[in-house]
């Protein structure tokens, strides 16, 4: 037999991976081998410490490999290697800047491995890594450390929230931010907190507190990071959640089928099991109650103080070093805080005055901020000046269409929030712009008109009030609220529920052959009992995935669950106890409604009664929800006349509730339909547009054809000209014939009208 040739790897029998494998399988037998390597590690460490920067790649087993080996097997020999983590931490702390990158990476990796094996706890790891993260000058190391820190935090929170660790890390970050307000190190706090917030691991007030401190720091980058978190952190979180939800669905049936057909192997089996586990986990997740996610803005302690400090420090202060972009962000945050929490910062509104000029860069954002910072508790006097300024600077015939439109939009947005800020003469002036030829201006002005028709028609001239406004004024429903007045709270859709209940009662009585207008006591009693019973049955049927969250401590429901007959009795008794007092009034009310057509006065009193005199059963609540959604859907259907049935106030409420108060007001809203009033494109703009559309020019088509195609893709309708061109020839014949047969007088009339139109400036005329 010829002599076997040695492969390169076998040149030296220093095979640590092999030894590692053996040690892992049987730690007790390989103890002495491990001890040899431990001694070797100690010696190598000594060599390394004598000269930490030098690198000798040529040696058979490098320090790096030894570190890896020991890190991997250290959970087998815990007592021998108890100093090992400390060694690593020492090396990393002392030499992280001068170490060879690969070795450094290996040390960090080994520490993380030790953490995974539970040899060191997360606290130790994070306390080691974090100071290095904020002090090292190496970019790659920073990226690595940040990734490791985040993944460790995520892992230790994966099974259940590790409150202790979170608290510790949060305190660490908080201290980092507070330690030196001017240093950019706090940026790491921003990064970590933001990531944790995004992944919904930290959702508590402490994380928000860290960000609050960041927003109040002296370093621009830190400030920008903190402010951006408040403005966009929640949206980021939602997007992340959607991403994770929209992962690929696993079709178990198909997988099982595939396994049945394909060659059977352990790997396929494992894959199937894994898929099954994922599906199960997902199912379980679906059943879990939705976690309460408060927006960061809601979790703030003392928003007034925060907003004031932000305003004073970054905006009002003369020596604030923020640039315009960052300033705008801070302004957005402050205005959102003011709008959301209804804070009162009096100098805030006069601060805007110097920025409210059309030439001011990104003025629309300023306008949006001003509107966003307005709410019903702001003194109207404070707002009068800014509104006047906007009207003077932006809204005039001389101003460009876009400018006037955004000014009007801004005024409208302010007035939505505080209608008292407008005075009558200014309103009349602004409303005149609804006749403007510029479409953007016209729409904006109409918006303002529509707003005051709903909010306070009294301020408008009588011909501008509109049908709903006049009716509302007559019935007294549309009354201007006074400053500081708050509408009484009520349950939305309660009147609908009441109406539905009455109808049900009548129907049942007709079924029984009784007079529907007279109500008996036994009737409503039955009603109640049925409702509660229905709930009990429902409760029995519903499982965890059915929308109701199973609350363990709710023993009342458990009792009714166990024995239906007995449990329902005491509950019906309880209802009976309530009934005698309510029934008489209700009956009286029912009669009143049947006799007199409903007056607003009586409906308002009845609304309060249903909620205050009776306990709404869960079935009632479910019905209420259903009614609410059906009405909101039917009112939005284009053909329905639901709008006419609704009162004007309800309509107003709806238009205002389209945008939730939590949603921010952006510059886009203020710009509105300004693109409608934009003038002709310049040559460059046209060229740019052309270039933009050039790439989707796969086949040759005429310009007109391409334009048409584009319009169809965008879902836009055809012009009248196009329609006319497509019209059937036979249909056009009649008109053409008629045109030829016109008498001279008729023809003259047509020509006159044409010239008149020309003088007026088109069909709509010049205003």
């Amino acid at each position: 037999m010829p002599k076997r040739k040695l492969a390169a790897l076998e040149k030296v029998d220093a095979d640590l991976t092999n030894l590692q494998y053996k040690v892992k399988r049987d730690p007790a037998s390989y103890r002495s081998e491990f001890l040899d390597q431990w001694l070797q590690y100690q010696n190598q460490r000594e060599i390394f410490l004598a000269n930490p920067t030098s690198t000798h790649d040529s040696s058979a087993t490098s320090f790096k490999d030894l570190l890896e080996f020991i890190a991997h097997v250290s959970d087998c020999y815990k007592s021998e290697t108890k100093d090992f983590p400390q060694h690593l931490i020492e090396i990393l702390n002392a030499h992280h800047d001068s170490l060879e990158p690969e070795l450094r990476e290996k040390i960090v990796g080994s520490l993380v491995l030790l953490r995974k094996r539970d040899i060191i706890d997360s606290n130790t790891l994070l306390h080691c890594l974090f100071p290095i993260l904020s002090s090292t000058s190496s970019k790659t190391l920073r990226a690595l450390l940040l990734q490791k820190i985040l993944s460790d935090l995520r892992n230790s929170n994966s099974k259940s929230t590790n409150h202790k660790l979170n608290r510790n890390v949060q305190t660490l970050l908080h201290n980092l931010v507070l330690a030196d307000r001017t240093s950019p190190k706090a940026l790491w706090a921003v990064k970590v907190t933001r990531e944790m917030w995004k992944r919904q691991i930290w959702t508590d007030a402490k994380a928000v507190e860290i960000m609050k401190e960041c927003a109040l720091a002296d370093n621009e980058k830190v400030v920008a990071g903190g402010v951006r978190f408040f403005l966009g952190g929640d949206r980021e979180r939602e997007e992340q959640e959607e991403d994770s939800e929209s992962d690929e669905e696993i079709d178990m049936q198909r997988l099982r089928h595939q396994v049945g057909i394909n060659k059977k192997s352990k790997k396929a089996d494992r894959g199937l099991k894994k898929a099954a586990a994922t599906v199960k986990r997902k199912e379980k997740k679906k059943g879990q109650p939705h976690p309460l996610n408060f927006s960061a803005l809601h979790l703030l302690h003392n928003p007034q103080g925060f907003a004031e400090e932000l305003f004073q420090k970054h905006l009002q202060a003369a020596k604030s070093r923020l640039n315009l972009e960052h300033k705008l962000q801070v302004l957005q945050l402050v205005s959102r805080l003011i709008g959301l929490h209804k804070l009162i910062i009096v100098p805030f509104y006069s601060y805007f005055l110097k920025f409210l000029k059309p030439k001011q860069p990104s003025v629309t954002t300023f306008l949006a901020c001003l509107a966003q910072g307005t709410h019903s508790q702001v003194p109207p006097d404070e707002l009068e000046k800014p509104i006047q300024t906007i009207a003077n600077e932006f809204v005039s015939e001389a101003a460009a269409g876009e400018v006037a439109a955004s000014g009007l939009n801004a005024i409208r947005e302010i007035c939505v929030r505080q209608p008292l800020a407008m005075n009558e003469t200014l309103l009349h002036d602004l409303i005149m712009y609804r006749k403007s030829k510029d479409k953007g201006v016209m729409m904006a002005s109409r918006g303002l008109l529509g707003l005051y028709r709903q909010m306070n028609p009294e301020m408008l001239k009588s011909r501008d009030r509109g049908r709903d406004g006049v009716l509302g004024l007559k019935t007294g429903e549309l009354k201007q609220q006074r400053y500081g007045e708050e509408a009484t709270g009520e349950i939305e859709g309660l009147d609908l529920l009441e109406k539905w209940k009455e109808e049900e009662r009548r129907r049942r009585r007709i079924e029984k052959g009784l007079d529907p207008d007279i109500s008996g006591q036994e009737d409503s009693e039955e009603d109640e009992e049925a409702a509660w019973n229905a709930w009990n049955v429902e409760e029995e049927d519903s499982d965890d995935s059915g929308g109701w969250i199973n609350v363990e401590s709710d023993d009342e429901i458990n009792i009714s669950d166990s024995d239906d007959d007995e449990a329902s009795k005491p509950q019906s008794k309880k209802v009976k106890f309530d009934l005698p007092t309510t029934d008489d009034k209700e009956n009286a009310f029912a009669k009143a409604t049947s006799e007199v057509p409903s007056t607003t006065a009586s409906t308002t009193t009845s609304k309060s009664k249903l909620a205050t005199t009776r306990i709404l059963t869960p079935a009632d609540l479910a019905k209420l929800h259903e009614l609410r959604t059906t009405t909101s859907i039917s009112s939005q259907l284009p053909g329905s006349h639901a709008k006419h049935h609704q009162t004007a106030a309800a309509a107003a409420r709806q238009t205002h509730s389209q945008r939730h108060i939590d949603d921010e007001l952006t510059a886009e809203t203020i710009t509105g339909l300004a693109h409608l009033s934009a003038g002709k494109l310049t040559k460059e703009e046209k060229a740019a547009l052309l270039a933009e559309h050039k790439k989707d020019r796969s086949e040759h088509k005429s310009k007109a054809e391409r334009k048409k195609q584009r319009k169809v893709e965008q879902g836009k309708s055809t012009t009248n000209k196009e329609k006319a061109r497509k019209k059937n020839f036979m249909m056009t014949l009649g008109k053409a014939k008629k045109k030829g047969k016109r008498s001279l007088v008729e023809h003259q009339k047509v020509l006159k009208m044409h010239s008149d139109r020309g003088k007026r400036g088109g069909k709509r005329g010049n205003y």
């Binding site: 029998d13 220093a14 001694l39 070797q40 010696n43 190598q44 000798h56 040529s58 040696s59 087993t61």
Partner: protein, 333 residues
């Protein structure tokens, strides 16, 4: 089918045989690469030096090549250095400090290529003997790392170096910080002399030596050399010293008031180094070393060695000698 005449012609062209004519150059293939180039002048990066590099430059160049990536390059450089040390620089000052040279050479003790390792040994042996002892502290970690290395060849190699160093500078070796305790610990682990204190459980581990007879015998021999150096010789009170004391008769402890003759005389104070643990203590006195050995290692050495003595052969002989050395040192106390 249906294609034009032009296309047909083009297709046909591919299959036509090139016509070769006598006296004319052969037609060039379609895929020939033109290697011709035009340039105004040629630049040669490395000019031939009229005066060849000096010995010193060559030496430094080879030292820098010691961290080369290729095995053969390292080996050749080491060979050059070894020969140069023996011929050109014999008894002359080196172009760079010995410490810097050792910094480069010592890591190669753990090199993966056996050729490099053997050359390293030769280079170390070529270094000036009187000076190498001053760097014992620097050398010892590499020796120990080699002794405990996973690879048997490296262990064997390192033993040779240790044996050479014991011959040349035994005193410095055993009295360097950590030189005594740690090195003995390495021997003990290497030979599998277990500490009976940390005996775990009832399970018996395999007795005897893990390696083949020859390398165990060699290890025992070197251990005997080393231990003899540390336990038996008393460097503090050797003859010379006593003689010089006697010559300066009226003055006692004359040597203590002279300028120190060895390098780093106050090293044992460890003023600037890292804080040392128990193991890396500096044991300069023979009595201290004996005491240390007795306390920690004597029992297991004696027990294991007496067992090994019964094995006979090379191992038995070496074990017997080693046992004799430690017995004589420790029993005498």
């Amino acid at each position: 089918m249906g294609s034009s005449a032009k296309k047909k012609k083009e297709k046909k062209k591919d299959f036509q045989k090139p016509k070769l004519r006598v006296g004319k150059a052969a037609p060039k293939a379609a895929n020939t690469t033109s290697t011709s180039f035009t340039a105004k002048k040629l630049l040669v990066n490395q000019q031939i030096n009229a005066n060849a590099p000096s010995l010193r430059d060559q030496f430094l160049h080879h030292v820098s090549l010691l961290s080369s990536r290729t095995d053969s390059q390292r080996k050749e450089s080491l060979a050059y250095l070894a020969s140069s040390l023996q011929s050109d620089y014999r008894g002359k000052p080196l172009p760079l400090s010995l410490k810097a040279l050792l910094d480069k050479v010592l890591p190669l003790l753990l090199d993966s290529s056996s050729g490099v390792r053997s050359e390293t040994t030769k280079t170390l042996q070529a270094l000036p003997k009187q000076d190498i002892g001053d760097y014992a502290e620097q050398t010892l970690p590499y020796i120990r790392a080699g002794m405990t290395h996973l690879s048997q060849e490296i262990r064997r190699n390192t033993l040779d170096v240790l044996s050479y160093l014991t011959e040349t500078c035994a005193k410095e070796l055993v009295s360097a910080p950590g030189g005594w305790t740690k090195t003995i610990h390495c021997f003990a682990t290497n030979l599998g002399f277990k500490d009976f204190a940390d005996n775990e459980g009832w399970s018996m581990h395999k007795t005897g030596f893990r390696e083949d007879v020859r390398s165990v015998a060699r290890t025992l021999q070197v251990a005997e050399q080393f231990l003899a150096a540390g336990l038996v010789k008393d460097f503090a009170h050797d003859k010379e010293n006593r003689y010089s004391e006697a010559s300066a008769f009226p003055l006692w402890d004359f040597a203590h008031h002279k300028l120190p003759v060895k390098s780093n005389p106050y090293g044992y104070l460890n003023l600037f180094g890292r804080p040392t643990d128990d193991e890396s203590r500096q044991l300069e006195d023979r009595d201290e070393r004996v005491l240390e050995f007795q306390d920690h290692y004597y029992a297991r050495f004696a027990k294991s060695l007496s067992k090994a003595k019964h094995e006979g052969g090379d191992i038995g002989r070496s074990a017997g000698q080693l046992l004799k050395v430690i017995d004589s040192a420790c029993k005498a106390e």
